[in-house]
C-alpha cells in the first residue's frame, strides 16, 4: 500500500506542475504579509504592472515596527513610520485586508493568523518571515520566504520549490512539572543543531505532542526554523478543530463538516517512511536555558556553562570561546547563578494567551527582583491582551512589577524602541539569541514564559520544575 507522510499529502495536494529536475510550482492558499519584507515586493509588482493573483488570499498586519507603549502617539521614528504607512497604502490600493495599528485584531503576524482562523489544516501558508513555520501546527504546510518570493506568490499564487526531505521528531511520555513545548523545542535544537533540519520538513509526533494545546504546538513549530527546517508541522486532530471552530476566517457552518472530514485525513499514514526519525522521552526533558549566541547553545537549567578548554574540535572550541566572550560568561558557571538585567515575555514564539497564563501563574504574588531593571510582558495581539485583561493577568503582572505593554514583535528583534543596551542580559521567551538580536551588544538567554517570569522574580535563572 502506498503510505504517505503528512508532508507528502500537503505537497501532493498543492502541486501545480513539476519539471524534470524536480523543480515544482506549489499553489499557495494563504499569504500573510507584514511591513518589513513586503514594500519591495509591492514596488516590484507596480514596476511590472502586475496585480495580485488572488487578493482574498492575502492578510496583512504591521508588527515589527509597532511601538508597545503610547500607541496613541503613533510611531516616532520617521523611517519606521514610513514603512508601516507604506503597508497601509499598498493594502488600500490593492484592496488587501489589513489589521492596522490600533485595531484590536492587530498583533504579531503569526499570532494574528491562527487567532483569526486564517490558518487552516491542509493549507499552504507563506509569509516573508522565517517564523511562518508556526502555522504548521494546524496540519498545514507553512514556511518563510524572501521578498522576491513574496512578490512571486502575490503575482502567481504559486511558489517555486523542490520537495524537502522528511524528519519525524517523535516525543512520547509525560512532560514534567514546569516543562513546556518551548523546552521540547530547545531540547531538539540542542540535539540536532541549528542546521540539523536544513533541507527537511519536520513533523512533530508522538503522544506528548498530541497532548499539547494549539498554543504549545505553535511554539514548537515556530522554533522548527531554529533547527534549520523551513517547515514544521503537527497532524490535525480534535484539538485543532476545536481551536478553529467559530473563528472569523474559519469555514462557515454549511462547510464545516466537509472541512473536518477532509482535515481528519491530514496525518502521516501508519508505516509512512521518513528520511530521518528522532525520538525523545518527554519525562527526561528539563527546563532549558540558552547560554550562547545560537539556539543550539542550550542546556538544562541545572547545567553548567561549557568549558571550551575541554573541547577537542577546534571550530567548536573557538565558537564557544567567542560566544562566552560575547555573553560575558565564565566557563563552568552554573546556569542558576547567571544574573539577569531584563526580562522579555512575548513574541511569535510565546506571546499567546497560554504563555501569558503560564508567566502570570509564576508571577502571582511575587515581586520582580530589585536588580532587574525592566521586566516587560508584550501580548502577541490585541485580542490576547484583551483576553488576558479579562482574566486579570495584567493586574497580576503589574502588581509584581512587570510592565504590561501593547502587542507587537517588540524586543524579540528590537526593531521598535524596545531593546537591550550593550552588555545587558535578558531572559527572553523569544526565538533567537544571535549577537545583537535584541540590541547591539545585548545578551539573550532563551527560555519558556514560566522560566522567564521566575527569573524576573529571583534576578537569576531558577528551576521552575522544582517550584
Amino acid at each position: 500500500m502506498n503510505t504517505q507522510t503528512l508532508y507528502d499529502k500537503l505537497w501532493n495536494s498543492h502541486l501545480v506542475r513539476t519539471e524534470a529536475d524536480g523543480t515544482s510550482l506549489i499553489y499557495i492558499d494563504r499569504h500573510l504579509v507584514h511591513e518589513v519584507t513586503s514594500p519591495q515586493a509591492f514596488e516590484g509588482m507596480r514596476m511590472a504592472h502586475r496585480k495580485p493573483w488572488r487578493v482574498g488570499s492575502i492578510l496583512a498586519v504591521p508588527d515589527h515596527n509597532v511601538p508597545t507603549k503610547n500607541l496613541a502617539a503613533g510611531i516616532t521614528d520617521p523611517i519606521s513610520r514610513l514603512q508601516v504607512e507604506t503597508l497601509d497604502a499598498n493594502c488600500a490600493e490593492l484592496g488587501i485586508t489589513e489589521f492596522k495599528m490600533g485595531d484590536i485584531r492587530q498583533g504579531v503576524v503569526h499570532v494574528m493568523g491562527p487567532e483569526q482562523g486564517a490558518t487552516l489544516p491542509g493549507m499552504t501558508v507563506v509569509c516573508g518571515d522565517s517564523h511562518t513555520s508556526t502555522h504548521g501546527a494546524f496540519g498545514a504546510l507553512a514556511h518563510g520566504i524572501g521578498t522576491s518570493e513574496v512578490e512571486h506568490v502575490m503575482a502567481t499564487q504559486c511558489l517555486v520549490a523542490k520537495k524537502s526531505k522528511t524528519m519525524l521528531v517523535k516525543v512520547d511520555g509525560k512532560l514534567g512539572h514546569g516543562v513546556t513545548s518551548k523546552d521540547i523545542a530547545l531540547e531538539v535544537i540542542g540535539m540536532i543543531g541549528t542546521a540539523g533540519g536544513t533541507g527537511y520538513a519536520i513533523e512533530f509526533g508522538g503522544d506528548t505532542i498530541r497532548g499539547l494545546s494549539m498554543e504549545g504546538r505553535m511554539t514548537l513549530c515556530n522554533m522548527a526554523i531554529e533547527a534549520g527546517a523551513r517547515a514544521g508541522m503537527v497532524a490535525a486532530d480534535e484539538v485543532t478543530f476545536e481551536y478553529i471552530k467559530g473563528r472569523p476566517f474559519a469555514p462557515q457552518a454549511s462547510q464545516w463538516d466537509a472541512a473536518v472530514t477532509y482535515w481528519r485525513t491530514l496525518h502521516s499514514d501508519a508505516g509512512a517512511k521518513f528520511d530521518t526519525t528522532i525520538t525523545l522521552d518527554a519525562a527526561k526533558i528539563k527546563p532549558q536555558v540558552t547560554w550562547g549566541t545560537s539556539p543550539e547553545m542550550v542546556l538544562p537549567v541545572d547545567g553548567i556553562v561549557p568549558d571550551p578548554a575541554k573541547m577537542a574540535d577546534p571550530v567548536k572550541r573557538s565558537d564557544t570561546e567567542r560566544a562566552l566572550q560575547y555573553m560575558g560568561l565564565k566557563a563552568n558557571t552554573p546556569i542558576t547563578e547567571i544574573k539577569i538585567d531584563k526580562v522579555f515575555i512575548g513574541s511569535c514564539t510565546n506571546g499567546r494567551i497560554e504563555d501569558m497564563r503560564a508567566a502570570a501563574a509564576v508571577a502571582k504574588g511575587g515581586k520582580v527582583a530589585a536588580s532587574v531593571m525592566l521586566a516587560m510582558v508584550v501580548p502577541g495581539s490585541g485580542l490576547v491582551k484583551a483576553q488576558a485583561e479579562k482574566e486579570g493577568l495584567d493586574k497580576i503582572f503589574i502588581a509584581a512589577g512587570f510592565e504590561w505593554r501593547d502587542p507587537g514583535c517588540s524586543m524579540c528583534l528590537a526593531m521598535n524602541d524596545d531593546r537591550l543596551s550593550s552588555g545587558e542580559r535578558c531572559a527572553s521567551t523569544s526565538n533567537r539569541n544571535f549577537e545583537g538580536r535584541q540590541g547591539q551588544g545585548g545578551r539573550t538567554h532563551l527560555v519558556s514564559p514560566a522560566m522567564a517570569a521566575a527569573a524576573a522574580l529571583a534576578g537569576h535563572f531558577v528551576d521552575v520544575s522544582k517550584q
Binding site: 501545480v16 510550482l25 499553489y27 492558499d29 519591495q40 514596488e43 522576491s148 534549520g228 526593531m415 533567537r432
Partner: protein, 212 residues
C-alpha cells in the same frame, strides 16, 4: 536580473560557522522600503566600532580593524568564503541584497540555511556548497596568498585557483538556467498561467472554504 557570467574574483575569508542574517544586516536597516543601498551596512556590528543607524555616512565611521573585511588585502572581494550553516535565521532578503550591494557575487560554504540559499538565486548571486575539507583548503590557500582570486565558471560548474586547482560544484539545473540567462522567475511562472488556473478551479471545487 543581471546574467551571471564567468569572472575571476578576489576571495575574502569569514572564518565563522552559523553566520546569521541578523549579523549580515542588522534589523535597524530593515526599515528601508528600498532594495538597494544596504552594502555600506553589511556586517555592520562587526565592521564598525560605533552603532550604525540607517542613513549614516559610513565613510566617516570608525572601522573595526580586527574584522576581516576591513583588511586592505580583501578590499574589492567578490567571493565570500565562510563556514557551516551560512545565512541561518531570519528570512530577510536584505541579507543577499547587502552582500550583493557590497560587491559579493558568490558565497562559498560547506552548508547554507535554506531560505538564504534560495534568496541568493533570486538576486543573481551564486551560493556554492563545497565539502568542508575543500572549504578548509581554500581558507588555507586564501590566507597563504595575497590577492588570492577564484575563477568562477557557472557553465562548467568549476572554481579554479591561481595555481590551476579546479573544484567542481553542484547546482540545480533550473537555477543555473535562470542565473545564466538572467531570467525573472515570475515571468517564467506566468508562462504556466493555464496550469495554475486549472489547478485553482479543481482546488476550489474540493475545498471551497479556502476561497470563502
Amino acid at each position: 536580473m543581471q546574467k551571471f557570467e564567468k569572472f575571476s574574483g578576489l576571495v575574502a575569508p569569514l572564518d565563522r560557522a552559523n553566520v546569521d542574517t541578523d549579523a549580515i544586516i542588522p534589523k535597524q536597516f530593515l526599515k528601508s522600503i528600498k532594495r538597494s543601498g544596504f552594502g555600506p551596512y553589511a556586517f555592520d556590528e562587526w565592521r564598525y566600532l560605533d552603532h550604525g543607524e540607517p542613513g549614516m555616512d559610513c565613510s566617516t565611521r570608525p572601522l573595526n580593524k580586527d574584522f576581516v573585511l576591513n583588511q586592505a588585502r580583501y578590499q574589492g572581494a567578490q567571493v565570500l568564503l565562510a563556514r557551516e550553516n551560512f545565512g541561518c535565521g531570519s528570512s530577510r532578503e536584505h541579507a543577499p541584497w547587502a552582500l550583493d550591494d557590497y560587491g559579493f557575487r558568490v558565497v562559498i560554504a560547506p552548508s547554507f540555511a535554506d531560505i538564504f540559499f534560495n534568496n541568493c538565486f533570486k538576486n543573481g548571486m551564486l551560493p556554492i556548497k563545497l565539502a568542508a575539507d575543500k572549504v578548509d583548503e581554500l581558507f588555507k590557500a586564501v590566507e597563504a596568498k595575497n590577492g588570492f582570486a577564484l575563477a568562477v565558471d557557472l557553465v562548467q560548474q568549476t572554481l579554479t585557483t591561481p595555481d590551476g586547482v579546479v573544484y567542481k560544484f553542484e547546482v540545480d539545473e533550473f537555477r543555473k538556467h535562470c542565473l545564466l540567462n538572467g531570467l525573472d522567475d515570475i515571468g517564467l511562472t506566468l508562462q504556466h498561467k493555464a496550469d495554475i488556473s486549472s489547478f485553482e478551479t479543481k482546488h476550489r471545487a474540493s475545498q471551497p472554504w479556502l476561497f470563502a
